[in-house]
Symmetry: C2
Subunit: 341 residues, 2 copies
């Protein structure tokens, strides 16, 4: 979601508290589990309710062939942009050795699929002192919006060789929304990669092909419990190909990034009592509907491969206003010791 500061300084915490209590009172922490994919009409109702749903039985037959060998062979020497971090936290708030907190983006390193897969899912004694690799380019690395809008079916994507195995859209979702996805992404990583808690302004269909993912979710009404602040921007960099990563603050002209200050919501006591996290394990072959604006923190097992389809939010009606209200105004720029580790 854009980081524009909303002029909502008049919205007090008691209003946010009231909203989250009322919402929880009506909805609890329930989520539906479907044993088979919904019809377009059923999914339209689900979109209206805007709560997570675990969907079983939506199978993508071609993914059964996605062994490491198949993926390595089909991708060949084509270089992939892989996120590298020292700790598994790409796109996360991190403390620099100087004690200051930054929102840090990963270092991107080019490597083949074979090389990536060889570095993932290693036994813990072999991996604990090494860098963490995660294919998570999130830019529509399989199908981007230009694929759908401009009729440009040419492959400019690094992962174009895999397009034949992946449906460009989810029929019951496209029909319910009346539009195509905005981006389709492939994610390949292992248990050392963690996605820090954040929210996206997209309806998200998230399918696990191999391994499993554990989502910790909070509704948009509980976002205020995450204490969003503005953090100065930084990236991981290295001096040369074989030297270690270091955190490099960006130029001061780079806008700060609005991000939650709760770094480990999965740890007991890290969230206030007013937050009611929902934990959903998504196993291979299962699909999560992750509604727009829901906060999510994601862990994964062994070697995990997942696909997601992002669809634009409904622009008409009150969805946008509601989500912007709930994000309120961020506290002033951090940089000190105010982060809840």
């Amino acid at each position: 979601m854009d980081s524009q500061v909303v002029d909502l300084s008049s919205v007090s915490f008691s209003t946010f508290r009231w909203l989250s209590e009322e919402y929880y009172g009506l909805n609890g922490d329930h989520y539906d589990v479907l044993e088979s994919p919904p019809s377009p009409l059923e999914f339209s109702r689900i979109l209206h309710i805007s709560r997570p749903v675990l969907i079983k039985g939506y199978t993508i037959p071609s993914l059964r062939h996605w062994s490491n060998k198949y993926l390595s062979d089909i991708m060949g020497d084509r270089p992939l942009s892989v996120a590298v971090t020292p700790n598994g936290y790409a796109d996360a708030v991190t403390r620099n050795p100087d004690g200051k907190w930054y929102f840090v983006e990963p270092y991107y390193q080019k490597m083949t699929m074979k090389s990536l897969l060889s570095r993932l899912g290693l036994p813990s004694d072999m991996s604990q002192h090494t860098e963490v690799f995660y294919l998570q380019s999130q830019d529509g690395n399989l199908f981007s919006s230009s694929y759908f809008t401009s009729g440009d079916k040419e492959s400019h994507s690094e992962l174009a060789s895999l397009r034949g195995d992946v449906p460009a859209e989810i029929p019951w979702c496209s029909e319910a929304l009346g539009r195509c996805p905005d981006a389709v992404n492939l994610w390949i990583g292992d248990r050392r990669s963690v996605t820090s808690i954040h929210s996206d302004p997209y309806e998200n269909i998230y399918h696990v092909a191999r391994g499993s993912k554990t989502f910790l979710l909070l509704p948009p009404t509980e976002g205020w419990c995450l204490k969003e602040r503005l953090y100065p921007h930084a990236t991981y960099q290295r001096e040369s190909e074989n030297s270690p990563l270091f955190l490099k603050p960006s130029l001061s002209t780079t806008p700060p990034v609005r991000w939650p200050s709760i770094l480990h919501p999965e740890q007991p006591g890290s969230l206030p009592d007013t937050a009611h996290p929902i934990i959903i394990d998504v196993k291979a072959g299962e699909t999560l509907y992750l509604p727009a604006g829901w906060w999510h923190h994601v862990r994964q097992s062994g070697l995990s491969i997942a696909l997601n389809w992002w669809y634009d939010i409904e622009p008409r009606g009150s969805t946008w206003v509601w989500l912007r209200l709930l994000r309120g105004v961020p506290a002033e720029a951090a940089g000190g010791e105010e982060v809840d580790e």
Copy 2:
């Protein structure tokens, strides 16, 4: 909607102003017009957007036979409960001769359909000094919730003789929502009856069978412009069958009623600039989708006959919380000179 006072005293007017400006900025005052009824999936999308839609081409063939003679004959001597007021404002804020403002409910008088129809649509010179009659019992006078829920298909309704002509539900709406209506009502009145501006916690399908209705609508985000206050309750009564109506304040134990203080939103200058009313004429044969929580003021032409189907709002998700937030906390009890006439 219930009149429970929501503990939202912390929500300032600047928040309400921000919400209404953002909502208007995204949606404007546009409404869609459909040339034919929507499919269930299309209507599900419309419910999600929650903005009014004028639907043409949804015909109810049996209504073509609803002449005054047909209606009088089929209803025979069966007595109907008809709302009677001196001024056409039933369920409205009204000033008593003592200068105090009340929320006044109409007097209910029993009469036959033939008698009712003979009093409606008269030339203005014949009607200007007479009482105003409106069949508007609103309690599911054709089909009530017990009809749908208890399987009780027996006719306890005053209008049961007309049930054969009226579909108990709207197929594309029932299928979109996955449920039956909560109440189906018949409305018969003329241009002298006006429905004061209010909102209902129901999805409303409103079909005009004869005459026309003019709806003035405001989105839920602009409800704060209507200055809801708590008014003491009263009813119109008469001493004997032929004596004139008078306003009788209810016992002080009757709870006050929360109602807008803007009595004539259709008149220029009565609404602040922050309100953006949408005016929709619904002609005979046309159907309005009036979304839950939208404020509506209704006038009608000549002799108007209409049907409406109320469906319960989606209880899951954020719809209820959103609508309750937007109603905020009402100003303290009125009763003085604070009404905007």
